[in-house]
């Protein structure tokens, strides 16, 4: 297998703050590689450097062997970028947006028409092609945002949190589309997200980034191995007190406790052994338990294990 993307010791600072700290990874041709990390981890900065929009302080990126520093134009021909922002013209129609960016890629005439039609089809927007983008739902705008990134049939499609703020159905559609593009045309995909489920669903290999540093990478299975045999007890309650959480943390057999919006996650080496004590403790703090389940290790628990915090909000209560 050929290497599509090599990211080599990438560092970028904004003033004194290090946004990307010595990040290295590589993506093989034909795979979907996920970059998972909470908000502010450095995902977009990494993407901007790979897309030739930002110069790193040190390190380099090679796309099919072409350096973003010395041959940015070669790199640009190979990549398709889907920025985190909805980078479209709201008063132009879906068709006009695609046609405009198609022209920017040098497409003209019949070739342009044909490609616009294909991309409308891929994104499921053919029926709304003539409508202005400002009349679209968030999900449809996100789909078109991806569509523009496909206009030049990129060998490497780079998506920066392409599903932020949309309904589950649209998200499903987008994830399926990406998977289909990868399977049918062998398009290599670099996908960033802070949603563990998306990366779990899509990606072959995953890198986990936090505070600008890639703290782990590998296949999903390899990463889950880091957590060892441990499991997560996920408990939904009607309300939690900080005292209850503090008490759980001190319990023997409990490794990490995470709490967000009335859901408590307990990382433990032996769920069977601690479950009854956890339940009893919560009862003694008057926390009503609505439901609980025991989960096999997933990327969320990997992140919890590595950083002691949750992915979604980075908050430890």
């Amino acid at each position: 297998m050929q290497t599509m993307l090599t990211v080599n010791k990438l560092t970028k600072k904004y003033g004194p703050q290090t946004a990307v700290d010595n990040v290295s990874f590589s993506v093989q041709q034909g795979e979907i590689w996920g970059l998972l990390g909470p908000n502010g981890a450095g995902k977009s900065t990494t993407i901007a450097i790979i897309s030739t929009l930002l110069r790193p302080i040190s390190g380099d990126v090679l796309v099919q062997g072409h350096s973003v520093l010395s041959a940015p134009d070669r790199v640009r021909k190979l990549i398709g970028l889907v920025p985190q922002h909805i980078a479209l013209y709201p008063t132009l129609s879906a068709y006009e947006n695609l046609a405009f960016f198609g022209r920017m890629y040098g497409l003209r005439g019949q070739k342009l028409k044909a490609r616009v039609a294909e991309v409308l089809d891929i994104t499921g927007l053919t029926a709304r092609a003539k409508d202005r983008v400002e009349t679209f739902s968030g999900g449809m705008q996100r789909r078109l945002n991806i569509g523009v990134g496909l206009m030049n049939r990129p060998a490497l499609l780079i998506l920066d949190e392409p599903t932020v703020g949309i309904d589950p159905q649209s998200r499903r559609h987008i994830l399926e589309t990406i998977k289909h593009l990868n399977a049918s045309s062998g398009m290599t995909v670099l996908y960033t997200s802070h949603y563990m489920e998306e990366v779990e669903f899509l990606c072959d290999r995953v890198g986990i980034i936090d505070h600008g540093r890639l703290i782990a990478q590998g296949t999903k299975e390899e990463l889950k191995h880091l957590v060892g045999e441990r499991e997560t007890i996920e408990i939904r309650t009607s309300g939690v007190s900080p005292a209850a959480i503090a008490h759980l943390r001190q319990m023997t057999g409990v490794d990490e406790v995470l709490c967000a919006e009335n859901t408590i996650k307990v990382l433990t080496g032996n769920a069977g052994a601690v479950l009854s004590r956890v339940v009893a403790s919560l009862n003694s703090f008057d926390c009503k338990i609505k439901s609980f389940r025991i989960q096999e290790p997933n990327l969320e628990s990997v992140f919890l294990h590595l950083t002691g915090k949750g992915l979604r909000d980075g908050r430890m209560t």
């Binding site: 640009r76 922002h85 022209r103 030049n152």
Partner: protein
Amino acid sequence: MSFWYIALKDVQVMLRDKKALLILIAMPVILTTILGLALGPLFNGPSQGVPHLSIAIVKQPPAAAPPLWDLLTEEQQEQINRAAGNLDLEEIFLQDFLASNELQKILDYRIMAEPDARAMLAQQKIDAIVYLPDNFSMQYVMGKNINLHVVTNTDSAARIVLQGILQSFTDTLSLPRIAMQVIQEEKIAEGIATNPFPDSPTLFTSLVENSHTSVTINTVAEEGKKIISARQYYAAAMAVMFILFAAGFGAAGILQERDSRTFDRLVVAGQKKSAIVAGKFTATMLIALLQMSVMFTFTHLVFGVDWGTDLAGLASVTFSAVFAVAGLGILIACLVKTERGIIVFQSVVIQVMAFLGGSFLPVYVMPEFTSTLAAFTINGQALKAYLSLMEGATLGDITATIVYLIGFGIASLGIGAKFFRVTS
């Protein structure tokens, strides 16, 4: 060729933007219509049958600082003071307006104390008393409508004439301000700007109603030149003022595309900064050209405005004016960082440029200081050239203006392009 597609896309975006259409296309047309009606008297017509008027000017005692003065920031107060200091409206009113050749024929005035004026009015030795507001310039600069208080006891034709004369003066001052006001309110409605002058009225309709007063004053043209009508003057004055808004629109588009990362997409698609700058520059040129075409067509077809007969001259001034405006747009985009900055440009800078350049009041009724400054504004230069063509000049007579405008465009494009940022 990419730059051309970028420009066409921007024109398309503009045509779908109702606010842009209102400000860029509709406002100059509307204002030309109104100003032509209101100010016709100032420019031409016979003076027979107009009675001679004697009026007393009473200066009102200085009042306290204008209301809401304290709410302004020091910077704003400073700006207003400076603007008011540069513009002595009282002087303009007395020396340049009432004592102008045209008005001298039908009117004389004396400055006196109020009791004396009252007495003379009672004895019918004068026809009217005009109270001159304190802080005249200050109030104007702060966006107040100018209200000249008039006391008269005759209800003869003289009173109607006097009202008409004063009306032309205040309308001249306040109409262009209304344009600014409408624009401001649009922005306020969007919640971006806060109105710095909340109590300035926008009496659009009432001014339209009031603008039918007819006063007839003679304008004598210099030897060998055609007389320029009010309609002609304001057709050109509004056109050159409103193409400045195309520069603001162009700059706003640049900020927006940087912000929404569509520029990023262009870069990833292989477009160089030069193509993007050229595209944006061309877009502003096309939009300003469209504005000028609408103004030419509308004023010519509806009011029969004669823009002169030298087509080469007209084409050259128009091209060089929109070229300068497009350069200005690129320059502003690199000077201004936020949408708020664009609003300041549109509501302050354009207003000052329009005033200095003679879009509000004919340059020749302004103090010498301002008419010198007028030479530096691109709208002032373009207006001067258009008026020359209307008077019968040809391309050869206006080459200096064309060189200035093209030079301005090249310089501002050069500086703007050097500091142009594509990514945010």
